[in-house]
């Protein structure tokens, strides 16, 4: 195996890692004010893919119009999810376990509805304007511009999310709620409204993830669960709630997947991935960037 092939694989791993990282970040967005995972996040990403395909490939809208529209639609779906699967449980003691079931149920409904409407066939979505799948080469590094666009958008969007949390009033309010919900209420912050907003924002981010992933993965109603699991593993390795941790964890698992399927065998891919996953958790149970004991009781 040549160095060129190795670098091509590395770029491919980085690209896949960037997508997994965005999945992890979209989970984090809904997780922040609630400390609960939205199991339907994979379904929302799948919807983002399918709406991107409908709006760009079927209706022929320009990228700059179609993708924001897909984001708005999926944000609305996220909001509906919050209203019917999450909000009714606010008043039930110990509701956080019930959310696992209700959001999972919502996810199953989404995936089955999408399957009824669009079927399971993969659909082609063109790369974003200005980029292509044509191979370029600089020295021993080979890549295409569609890959670069995905990596750049992933980094930029994660940076934007981090900026929001740490440098805006609303973002800090979300951090406050995630640390101490009652304490935040005593400052006048309404956690329920932030939960609604976070489900909508998580939906929009999921749609963006689906939109930028669809040119290389193809849009399909079957992608949700697989991406959700990769996002989970990225978060478990990187540390729950940490967005840069999600990025590091995601790039690590994507590179392991890509390199192991070539250097070992495709059958070894999952085994190599889970072996590294277990090794990291054995050494750092809270993930590489997670802090132990987030909550004192």
């Amino acid at each position: 195996m040549s160095g060129e092939d190795f670098f091509a694989l590395l770029v491919s791993g980085l690209t896949t890692g960037a997508i997994y990282a965005m999945v992890g970040v979209s989970l984090n967005i809904a997780y922040k004010p609630t400390n609960v995972f939205n199991m339907a996040q994979g379904g929302l990403i799948m919807l983002g893919m399918m709406f991107t395909w409908v709006l760009l490939s079927v209706l022929g809208l320009p990228w700059i119009l179609g993708v924001p529209l897909a984001m708005a639609i999926v944000a609305a779906v996220g909001l509906v999810e919050e209203r019917i699967a999450v909000a009714p449980l606010h008043n039930v003691a110990g509701h956080s376990h019930a959310w696992v079931i209700t959001t999972l149920a919502f996810s199953i409904i989404l995936v089955n509805a999408a399957d009824q409407i669009w079927g399971a066939d993969p659909r082609y979505v063109a790369p974003m304007p200005g980029t292509s799948l044509t191979h370029h080469r600089f020295g021993i590094v080979g890549f295409n511009t569609a890959q670069i666009a995905i990596i750049v958008i992933a980094f930029a969007s994660i940076w934007l999310v981090e900026y929001f949390y740490h440098h805006t009033r609303l973002g800090r309010a979300v951090l406050a709620v995630s640390e101490d919900s009652d304490g935040a209420r005593l400052c006048g912050i309404n956690p329920l409204r932030l939960t609604m907003g976070s489900f909508a924002a998580g939906g929009a981010f999921a749609a963006l993830t689906g939109a930028i992933a669809s040119p290389i993965l193809f849009a399909s109603t079957e992608f949700g669960l697989d991406l959700l699991i990769k996002g989970f593993i990225a978060l478990a390795i990187g540390g729950l709630g940490s967005n840069w941790g999600a990025l590091a964890g995601a790039i690590l698992i994507a590179c392991i997947e890509t390199l192991s399927s070539v250097y070992l065998s495709p059958g070894m891919r999952q085994i190599a991935l889970l072996a590294v996953f277990l090794a990291v958790l054995l050494m750092r149970p809270n993930g590489m960037f997670g802090r132990p004991g987030g909550r004192e009781v």
Binding site: R172, L175, A176, D180, R185, L186, C187, G188
Partner: protein
Amino acid sequence: MNADIMLDVEGLAAGYGRVPVIQDISLKLRRGEAIAILGANGAGKSTMLRAISALLSRAAGTVRLAGDDVTGLSAERLVAAGLSHVAEGRRLFRKLSVEQNLELGLYALNPPAEMIAERREEAYELFPMLRQKAQQPAGSLSGGQQQMLCIAQALTRHPKVIMLDEPSLGLAPILVEEVFRTLEKVRRAGQAILLVEQVVERTLAFVDFAYVLQNGRIVSKGTPAELASADVVRRAYLGEAVAVVDHA
């Protein structure tokens, strides 16, 4: 006369699940007045504060703030209406800086930048050590400093009523004095204070009126002088059965 009553609680009952913790609580707090709630551990003091500030939903009772009926308001809205509750256990946002904590304390007021700076300055004048620690995470402060930050967070909102749940808990005596000195300033500024405390003597020396809570009910009330003469206070702390005192 009624305009002077800043906090008026009547017939308050609340609990967790179906178990009532506090029942039939009525109290009044006037402008520039400080009152104390005394009682043993488990008497329901914190539950009472949580029910007044609507963190805990109430089973019965009305709450009026400066003459307005605020019974139906959520905890968040009550803060904006002028009721500040400094909860027990130094509820700060530990990962955020002192400065950011002060800013979040003003969230309910939706303040413009100049007002944030102005109120932050007030906090620093009240507790100068907060200025030196402004950029440090709140979790890195000592227990006493964290308590000062909690109090500053509440006071910079300029609340009509401030309720404090054991602000002196775990503090060195010199810091306990600093807490009371600060509260004295607050009282002189015309704000009303509701204090839950375990250091009974120091508290009775400070407040104008006190209520004794036992098993979730008010079993006695009076001025510090009246209460000091009755041994109901001591007995309430020891958790002994006490007949309900008839107050004329």
